[in-house]
């Protein structure tokens, strides 16, 4: 993709091997004289379009598989009904109570600490961190989450970042429960944004804005500043930039990999038998997503803390990102896909269409030469 290098504000730079997925297949091998039928025969282009309509590797990453209808027979159906009653009637209210109680305690304690203790009081940071860890544990309890952690517990030291695959915002809560991470997040509207603003700020988080063109440079600078600080919480980054359905990983953006520090990969895999934890942000709001989790039996997942990685001599940040993506995908049993997750929100660059046009135009012109 060296041919498409432009200013760093463009998103094209992050695209390593997209060409393999988007090449025009049928350039006729030996240029022959141009006939009318060659101009009229648009079948290769049509075939590509139809292929994309029928199936494509991008939407597959964001598909939440619908529940299969069971054989509703005489014993399964009543059992399932009983399950629904228990889940919605008993578990859910109980969990809501836990959650509400937890929040009340949290808000009380947090407000006390936030407003009473001085601005740069060391204890303030410590207590706020512990409180956030506590509320995350409350959340985790409200889903009856069974989380198996594998690997060494993250330590707090400078010059390291943690990267993980992203399935839902609860990824953050699950990891936060064990260690207080600082995280880089997209600001959300509504009550989630409110919580982000007040509470998560205490952890030292960084905000980004997908729609902001120059954003990348600003964020890169903030990241660098953060990892220098000895006192800062370890930084957690989701390099995919968007939620994926936990069967695939999409392209890891290189921002986290060009900071010149250790990158500690974290792999998260949810067990779908219990609940599908994929937050399909196009289909449901975060509130509904939480309700769905709280009315399921449990959230079961595995978290693997993998060995810290360093960029190898001669490796570009993009290659480094791919290598780590491969590590995480293999560990969690996910399939790797080179698509940029941002394509969920933006159309592909017109340059890609122009590439195809250029190829076709050149073949026409070339054949014109032949007599």
């Amino acid at each position: 993709m060296a041919g498409l290098a432009t200013s760093s504000a463009e998103m094209d730079l992050d695209r390593p091997n997209i060409d393999e997925y988007l090449t025009v297949e049928s350039i006729r091998e030996a240029p022959k004289k141009l006939h009318l039928r060659d101009l009229l025969d648009i079948s290769p282009t049509l075939k590509e379009a139809a292929g994309a309509i029928v199936d494509d590797s991008f939407t597959r990453c964001f598909k939440s598989n619908p529940s299969e209808p069971w054989n509703w027979n005489i014993y399964l159906f009543p059992l399932w009904c009983l399950g629904v009653v228990i889940r919605y009637g008993i578990l859910f209210p109980f969990r809501v109570i836990i959650l509400v109680a937890g929040w009340i305690v949290f808000f009380a304690a947090f407000s006390l600490v936030h407003f009473l203790l001085g601005e740069h009081n060391k204890w303030k940071r410590e207590i706020e961190r512990k409180l956030v860890e506590m509320i995350c544990s409350v959340f985790v309890a409200s889903w009856t989450a069974v989380i198996k952690y594998h690997g060494p517990r993250p330590s707090m030291r400078p010059q390291q970042v943690f990267v993980a695959n992203h399935t839902s915002m609860i990824d953050f809560i699950i990891l936060e429960q064990m260690t207080a991470f600082a995280v880089i997040m997209q600001k959300h509207p509504g009550w989630v944004g409110f919580i982000q603003k007040i509470i998560v700020e205490s952890l030292g988080c960084i905000w980004f804005n997908r729609t902001e063109a120059k954003d990348r440079e600003i964020v890169a600078r903030k990241l660098r500043e953060h990892i220098q600080g000895v006192d800062n919480n370890p930084l957690l980054i989701f390099p995919e930039g968007t939620c994926v359905n936990n069967h695939y990983t999409v392209m890891f953006k290189k921002g986290a990999f060009e900071l010149g520090c250790a990158v500690c990969p974290v792999a998260i895999k949810y067990n779908k038998i219990f609940v599908d934890a994929f937050w399909n942000s196009k289909k449901q709001s975060f509130t509904m997503h939480l309700v769905q989790l709280m009315t399921s039996w449990a959230v079961v997942c595995d978290v693997w803390y993998l060995e810290p990685q360093y960029i190898r001599p001669g490796e570009t940040p993009i290659e480094f990102a791919e290598r780590v993506q491969e590590m995480i995908s293999v560990r969690a049993g996910l399939k790797k896909v080179p698509w940029d997750g941002y394509l969920k929100y933006f159309r592909p660059s017109p340059k890609l269409i122009e590439r195809k046009q250029q190829i076709f135009a050149e073949s026409v012109l070339q054949r014109l030469e032949e007599k």
Partner: protein, 175 residues
């Protein structure tokens, strides 16, 4: 989460299969249905143009806008009929007819010089000048026995493309 659309019954599948002249097997029709429901996020019965454009591989296709016009407002039965041109079981004639429909922008049964020029413009973009495009097209048309003012009908298309081995097939993945 959750399947908001109803399940296809055997009757539905057979009706769709009839409508597309058995271009697809019943399993393929079920797969296409899942795909249709996936793209038809609002369960409105048809797929809005925006959804097609959110498939990156479709959005970068030079003919995407033309195809969008043809795909606009299609229900599932018509969607399958649209795609039937890409089935290996469909006749060459049907595929050529599909290509004709892509060219015939105003659907009046005749493809003019400007229609063909329009498609050529989509395919080549700014990499061939408009003048050169017209020159190429005029020359190639004349060599085939047409003039700039003649309009081409379906039977002409059949004649022109009938002998070429048109490779226009897609495979429907069966989950």
């Amino acid at each position: 989460m959750g399947n908001t659309s109803s399940m296809l019954t055997q009757y539905d599948i057979e009706e769709v299969q009839e409508h597309c002249n058995h271009a697809f097997s019943q399993q393929e029709i079920v797969s296409l249905y899942h795909r249709f429901c996936q793209l038809d996020r609002n369960s409105s019965g048809f797929i809005p143009g925006d959804e097609f454009l959110s498939v990156p591989e479709f959005a970068v296709n030079p003919l995407s806008q033309r195809l969008l016009r043809m795909l606009d407002g299609l229900n599932f039965k018509e969607f399958v009929a649209f795609l039937s041109a890409f089935s290996p079981r469909t006749s060459l004639q049907h595929k050529i007819e599909f290509i004709f429909r892509v060219y015939d922008f105003d659907s009046n049964g005749r493809v003019t010089f400007d229609d063909i020029l329009g498609v050529l413009r989509d395919l080549t973009g700014s990499f061939i000048s408009e003048q050169q495009r017209q020159k190429v097209l005029t020359r190639v048309l004349e060599e085939a026995g047409y003039t700039k003012d003649s309009s081409v009908v379906l039977s002409d298309f059949m004649k022109i493309l009938g002998n070429s081995d048109l490779k226009m097939e897609v495979e429907v993945p069966i989950d």
